[in-house]
């Protein structure tokens, strides 16, 4: 027989030959495949992703709702007044015409640099008690009554008012061009009071004005700028109880800046900072397990247990509310899910595996029937066997902490120190460990032999937050943290204690959800 025929014979015999499969091969393949899948898929992908999506969606929805709602409130009066709005900062505005009228709303985003123009004494006219103008120029330092500033205002100009030291004066500014909001640059902190009247001379406003009369104009609006930015508001409508009350008391609306660079107002309660945030976060965690013996004689067991268990990367996902207690101090509380993962690997020696081998031979002889001979033999393999499993410690917890911001609240970058406690609500466990004979056993929260508590107590929490503001409502943050476990996670009847310390890095987003409270 030639080599070619020989090759062909072998090929034909074996090309499509099928061998019996060893028992458990399929199970072995899927177990190995599951083990090699990326960690996030490993940990019940769908549930985790759904939970993460739900938390982020809720956080974003709440943040968006309050953000949008606040803007509507801020500018509602403008819309109802049917006026032109001039916006000189970059704030997003949501317009809602609640009156369902056909009036058009025009928005001019005036990003052009505004020319400054000083008011001089000749622009100021004193008003006497009869509310008629006194045609006299006053020295700026003697201002102590009601005055009209009759400076022509255009969209491209701002009036710079200096050295107005007397803070009890009322200034009526004649806006000769209707539907234009002038901008004021205030160089003094005592914030003199201004009233802008469109077409002052032709209106009956001054004629009927008395010192103690509340302002009820629906025609005017005020914009005041500070050194870095300004916020815009309107004289509120007459039926706004809160604002009407304020107007009655003060005659003229007084507006104050709270922070440089922000558009917040002081609250009516007088608290300087009154912020409420919702924070959504997720973090990869590294848990460090600490085991110590309760009763003597457990050393060998604990050593074997320790060598068979290795902590893997875990994670935390949650949401919390954050309320300012003062300018720099915030109280935070929420709900989070934490999962610690652990790899259990146990190598057992002298593991025996017996395979039955049956060889069949067919002997063909001329003139005789074919004879089939079966040889049965056994193959015994002795080796070690490695059993592995992923153990999961799952916890539902309440984080409760104080956060002290080291930076000014208005800064775009903020650094804060957090300290507090993580209170466990409930815990559950599933996995394997070794028994007293060093054999693997399944231990779970639902099993009768569970050695784990369903409520594992408290951990102390410390972290540092680095926060970056995206805008006035939204910020993102990173928070490296450390958790120190002070409670034993095992039942008291167990001969040893087990505690977890955790190092993690949270990434999250913060939304401001409270409304601005104007005077």
């Amino acid at each position: 027989m030639t080599d070619k025929l020989f090759d062909s014979f072998i090929s034909n015999k074996l090309k499509n030959y099928e061998s019996p499969l060893p028992d458990g091969l399929w199970e072995k393949i899927i177990a190995e495949e599951d083990k090699r899948k990326p960690a996030i898929i490993w940990w019940k992908t769908k549930q985790i992703l759904l939970l993460a999506f739900a938390i982020l969606f809720t956080t974003f929805s709440v943040g968006y709702y309050f953000n949008a709602h606040r803007n509507i409130n801020n500018f509602r009066a403008l819309v109802e007044n049917k006026k032109t709005i001039i916006i000189t900062n970059n704030e997003k505005i949501v317009i809602e015409n609640k009156e369902n009228t056909s009036n058009s709303v025009e928005i001019v985003n005036n990003k052009k640099a505004i020319k400054k123009e000083k008011i001089t004494a000749k622009d100021i006219t004193e008003i006497n008690d009869n509310n008629t103008s006194i045609a006299a120029s006053k020295s700026k330092n003697n201002l102590n009554n009601n005055y009209i500033i009759s400076k022509k205002i255009t969209a491209e100009k701002s009036l710079q008012i200096e050295d107005l030291t007397a803070n009890k004066n009322n200034f009526f500014i004649d806006n000769k061009i209707k539907n234009i909001t002038p901008t004021f640059k205030l160089n003094k902190k005592n914030n003199p009071k201004f009233r802008i009247i469109n077409d002052l001379k032709s209106s009956n406003y001054l004629k009927n004005y008395t010192k103690n009369e509340p302002v009820e104009s629906k025609e005017t609006k005020i914009t005041i700028t500070n050194h870095k930015a300004f916020w815009a508001s309107t004289i509120p409508l007459k039926n706004d109880l809160l604002h009407t009350k304020k107007l009655v008391n003060n005659n003229v609306l007084e507006l104050k800046k709270l922070f440089n660079g922000t558009d917040d107002c002081p609250s009516t309660t007088g608290v300087i900072r009154n912020d409420l945030y919702i924070e959504g976060y997720a973090s990869p965690d590294v848990a460090i397990k600490k085991i110590s013996e309760n009763t003597s004689g457990n050393n060998n067991y604990l050593s074997k247990k320790d060598s068979s268990e290795t902590m893997l990367l875990g994670f935390t996902i949650g949401a919390r509310l954050s309320k300012s207690l003062s300018n720099n101090l915030l109280l935070k509380a929420g709900l989070q899910y934490t999962q610690f993962n652990e790899k259990f690997t146990l190598r057992t020696e002298n593991d025996r595996r017996q395979t039955i081998i049956i060889n069949e031979h067919t002997i063909v002889r001329p003139g005789l029937p074919d004879t089939t001979i079966s040889d049965t033999s056994f193959s015994l393999q002795i080796g070690y066997r490695v059993r592995s499993n992923i153990n999961k410690y799952k916890n539902l917890e309440i984080p409760l902490m104080l956060s002290y911001e080291l930076s000014k609240p208005e800064s775009n970058w903020q650094l804060a120190i957090n300290a507090g406690a993580i209170v466990n609500v409930t815990s559950w466990y599933e996995g394997k460990t070794i028994d007293a004979n060093y054999n693997p056993i399944v231990v779970g929260s639902k099993s009768n032999n569970s050695i784990y508590k369903s409520q594992v107590g408290i951990s102390l929490y410390g972290g540092v937050t680095i926060l970056r503001k995206i805008d006035e409502q939204i910020a993102v943050f990173a928070e490296p943290y450390f958790r120190y476990g002070i409670s034993n996670s095992l039942q008291s009847s167990t001969g040893f204690t087990q505690k977890f310390n955790v190092i993690g890095l949270q990434f999250g987003a913060r939304f401001k959800i409270n409304k601005n409270k104007h005077l």
């Binding site: 072998i10 090929s11 074996l14 499509n16 099928e18 499969l21 495949e33 031979h361 002997i363």
Partner: protein
């Protein structure tokens, strides 16, 4: 389930489809792995690596050729990778005898079952066995084998000649026993 449905299911990582695929092809692939492996444990490892690679890369199969052929290539690559990991070497081994021309009676072949052939191939040194399998049974040429095993084509040819001769001698020995 048709083969196309099984493939689509495997692309979606559907476990039932993966098992159907396994049931369909595993016996043939097991015999391939047994031909390359030194023992059944090694063959199981090859099967495991091969099927994990198939499930992972099944999305890359572009339906241009035979799906069975594509899977067979993946299995063989997995087997070779494992052999390489276990230090596959192509050493020159002394011939069993000085006979350059081995003469085997044709009727001897009729007595040879697949199991016998598998055993005889398994008795070949690892390097001989791999080249013999790749060339004679899988049909790769020596240039392709050289690329796959990172050896020279001449080495592949030489290993094949020696493998064939050693196999023929083994069959001859069987023939003598039978007589």
């Amino acid at each position: 389930m048709t083969e196309q449905e099984i493939i689509q299911g495997c692309v979606r990582q559907n476990r039932q489809c993966q098992q159907a695929l396994f049931n369909l092809y595993a016996p043939n692939f097991m015999s391939i792995c047994l031909r390359y492996a030194s023992n059944s444990m090694e063959a199981e490892d090859m099967m495991q690596e091969g099927f994990i690679a198939i499930f992972k890369n099944i999305g890359q199969f572009n339906n241009t050729g035979s799906f069975g052929g594509w899977m067979k290539r993946v299995i063989i690559n997995a087997a070779l990778m494992l052999l390489r990991k276990n230090k596959l070497r192509f050493n020159e081994i002394d011939d069993y005898s000085n006979n350059n021309n081995v003469s085997i009676e044709a009727y001897t072949y009729s007595n040879l079952g697949e199991e016998d052939l598998m055993k005889l191939i398994n008795n070949l040194p690892k390097g001989y066995r791999v080249v013999f399998n790749l060339n004679i049974i899988e049909g790769y040429n020596h240039d392709e084998i050289a690329t796959m095993l990172d050896i020279k084509p001449a080495t592949s040819r030489s290993q094949l000649v020696k493998a064939r001769k050693m196999l023929q001698l083994q069959i001859l020995e069987l023939q003598k026993i039978a007589v």
